[in-house]
Amino acid sequence: MSELLTGLSLAEARAKLGAREVSAQELTDAHIDAIKSASALNAFVVETADRARADAARSDERLAKGEGGILEGIPIAIKDLFCTEGIASTAGSHILKGFRPPYESTITASMWQEGAVMLGKTNMDEFAMGSSNETSYYGSVLNPWRQTGNNRDLVPGGSSGGSAAAVAAELCLGATGTDTGGSIRQPAAFTGIVGVKPTYGRCSRWGVVAFASSLDQAGPMTRTVQDSAIMLRAMAGHDQKDSTCVDVAVPDYEAALERSVKGLRIGIPAEYRVDGMPQDISDLWDQGITWLEEAGAEVVQVSLPHTKYALPAYYIVASAEASSNLARYDGVRYGLRDDRDDLTEMYEATRASGFGAEVKRRVLMGTYVLSAGYYDAYYLQAQKVRTLIADDFRKAWDSVDALLTPTTPGAAFGLGEKSDDPIAMYLNDVLTVPANMAGLPAISVPAGLSSQGLPLGLQIIGRAFDEETVFQLGRALERAAAFDRRPTPWWRDRA
């Protein structure tokens, strides 16, 4: 019974809750049990079973009266980057040791308002810096998927790796993620689930620990496109506490899902066919083109000439913003303090012991590109490149309605395989970073398996604030791909 409950989609669970075929408490208990049996994945850093049961009881009362919000009674996991009132929020970092926020992030507050049940906080790369979830202070997360006939542990992608693993292993019906350069879409692709990065400004960033403020955007991670459409509606909306959060109406994304894609023009950007792209990725891309053509869309070749500069410019902009944002961790107001007799020594010791190697690397890079002698050569130059990248997309929208690309240049890799080579790790983001640089909405949809039996994703990028077309095309890909494979639950034997 409980496995049947955790295997439901969010939309199916919503229907059963509404019809009183299952209670929110039964649904929640099934997920609490599933989380307990999946400790080997290390997907959660905090489990909030008591809170979840209380949430579920409240939801059952509302549902019994025929009331309830968009996510009433739905068990959800929250990336540990979101501040949750009274519940430890660490951003995967030692430096936020013991931090219990006295406030709730706008997005999570809105989800609780809509009736969601909180299962816990999910593991992540430290301060969302990483593409494999190996930089977390709380240890690596394991991908629920394994290669065919091989028991080697694989990474789930990052930085929202705990959220991705939790959704893929059916430990929750949906999870929040954040995406600065691909941190929702890349782990979604690696774990065979759906991940959506909304338009910059669609969701409030208030109460979400800042990495790179002009790139960060939160979004849903679920097992179906419809589930993401439901969840995003509960997350999105104007917020006065985030001046970059835009005051535009939130559409009913679900209503867009079953619209025909007939007549939509889909661009295939030539520059995304990167050097050394594996055959199975390029085959899947061609398959995606055929699927959309068969559904009635018109496929057009387009050029985004500045694509190759996106990744280097991204690592300058993101690191610069990170070095500035992370200056607040000084051992005075919250988190870790490494006590010394001298104030400056205390700052230094606290930051030296509190930050991990990857975070230090980015703070150093960011400080360097912002330093007086190099500001023009690096940071200013990267900002100009960013404008050119956004212009590439703007020109493309004259001839197409959305773009189709692979999400990642490869499938999930082994634990430790790329951790010694930062550039190889950064290359994971090459196909996802441009959408962040331009602030555009994008979705990753699981579309097939690699030659070694691992999930691969296709990405749709849309116009700013046109998540509806992104969902519509995502649903068309999902329907055509009919991806229904699930990982074998090997982790239950390791509990």
């Binding site: 013991g98 931090f99 219990r100 926020p101 006295p102 406030y103 338009t199 910059y200 400004g201 002009s214 790139l215 006065q240 001046s243 970059t244 835009v246 005051d247 051992g331 005075v332 107001r333 919250y334 988190g335 870790l336 303090r337 006590d339 010394r340 007799d341 001298d342 104030l343 020594e345 205390m346 956004a390 331009a438 602030g439 555009l440 700013a464 604030f465």
Partner: protein, 41 residues
């Protein structure tokens, strides 16, 4: 990033007066202040 102008609001205090919550996470505090190592000889 996406071409929207920022909102303006009146220059007034929107919230405050929760000293305990602000100090609650500090590694060290006393008399309503954050405490740091001595900086004046």
């Amino acid at each position: 990033v996406v071409g929207h102008a920022l909102h303006h609001r009146e220059d007034v205090v929107t919230e405050g007066d929760f000293q305990d919550a602000v100090l609650g996470n500090a590694p060290d505090s006393a008399d309503g202040y954050f405490v740091v190592p001595k900086v004046i000889e």
